[in-house]
């Protein structure tokens, strides 16, 4: 119970930060929505840990719900890092295009 409350406090902290960033317009609408859904799902998973535990057992998994949540979180994080890498690669491409345009126009 104590761990669940602690996890919820952490999620609330991140949600407050997310709303502040949205207010300052430092995150785009889509990005805000993505993280909002992510944290709300995380909160829901923690609140409904026992029903998820039963569901996990019913599906035939041997681990506890918290373990399954951990695996899913790791997978989500891997996906997010991958997306980040692609975004950075695209940004680098744009920087190079700008660099090229400036070099040619300057002459």
């Amino acid at each position: 119970m104590f761990q669940q409350i602690l996890a919820l406090i952490i999620i609330i902290f991140f949600l407050v930060r997310l709303f502040r960033q949205k207010k300052k317009q430092s995150v785009s609408g889509n990005e805000f929505l993505l993280w909002l859904i992510f944290w709300l799902l995380a909160a829901a998973a923690i609140i409904f840990l026992k029903p998820i535990d039963q569901l996990v057992k019913a599906l035939g998994f041997s681990g506890a719900a918290i373990n399954i949540l951990l695996y899913i979180t790791v997978l989500i994080l891997i996906y997010l890092v991958f997306r980040l890498r692609l975004t950075i690669a695209k940004m680098e491409k744009n920087i190079s295009t700008l660099n090229e345009t400036i070099a040619i126009k300057k002459l």
Binding site: R85, L86, A89, K90, E92, K93, I95, S96, N99, E100, I102, A103, I104, K106, L107
Partner: protein, 220 residues
């Protein structure tokens, strides 16, 4: 027939003057792309008679070649030569590279260190890194050329317009080969001699090239 030579340069103050001077008799225009060097590369190249383009941010050899090639095309080049700034290539071999294009036998001519001329390649490069690179090129890109990483090449205007270098770093060599094959551009290899002042691309650099090519595939 306008022949332009594109030389990407980053911190090459110790070689650029000699390189530009040696190349000048064989071409109509020398375009040095200064990739945001911290030394005197740009000034020395300009004094030697090259046209100097400045990158405001250092982006790598592939990006510099792209800038230089784009400028050469805008400026009406008929043949574009890619040449290194570190003095490892021999400018006297430029006529050998452009001859097949002039005689309409090829649209792109690639200098090869592994034909009948002998370059003083480091042992590990000749017997380990290059065979591995050749194997990867054959396996993944179906490229069957003797030199997988030569930076000395000549392109007809038509071929240079078709090739779009996407990789900013050293992966552009493999990328150009891949595009030449994919776009069915007529290619010929000619032997060249390379003098190694430094070791150049290391094994770790080779791994980075593979990584860059994979990322490039994903974002396109």
């Amino acid at each position: 027939m306008k022949i332009s030579c594109v030389i990407p340069a980053y911190n090459e103050a110790s070689h650029i003057l000699a390189v530009v001077t040696q190349v000048r008799p064989f071409v109509n225009e020398i375009i040095v792309v200064d990739d945001c060097s911290k030394d005197d590369t740009a000034r020395l190249a300009k004094n030697a008679g090259a046209l100097v383009l400045h990158h405001v941010i250092n982006r790598g050899q592939g990006a510099a070649l792209r800038t230089g090639t784009a400028y050469a095309l805008i400026n009406g080049a008929d043949i574009i030569i890619h040449f290194d700034a570190d003095g490892q290539f021999s400018a006297t071999e430029i006529p050998d590279l452009i001859r097949p294009i002039l005689e309409k036998r090829a649209e792109t001519v690639l200098g090869s260190r592994f034909l009948n001329k002998k370059s003083d390649l480091p042992w590990s490069k000749e017997h380990l890194i290059m065979p591995l690179a050749r194997g990867i090129n054959r396996l993944f890109f179906n490229i069957r050329l003797s030199d997988p990483q030569s930076g000395f090449r000549a392109l007809s205007r038509d071929a240079a317009s078709k090739i779009k270098i996407q990789n900013d770093g050293m992966a552009h060599c493999s990328e150009i080969l891949y595009q030449l094959m994919a776009k069915k551009i007529k290619v010929q290899e000619v032997p060249i001699t390379v003098t190694y002042n430094e070791y150049g691309q290391k094994f770790s650099g080779g791994l980075k090239i593979i990584k860059d090519l994979l990322i490039q595939k994903l974002i396109n």
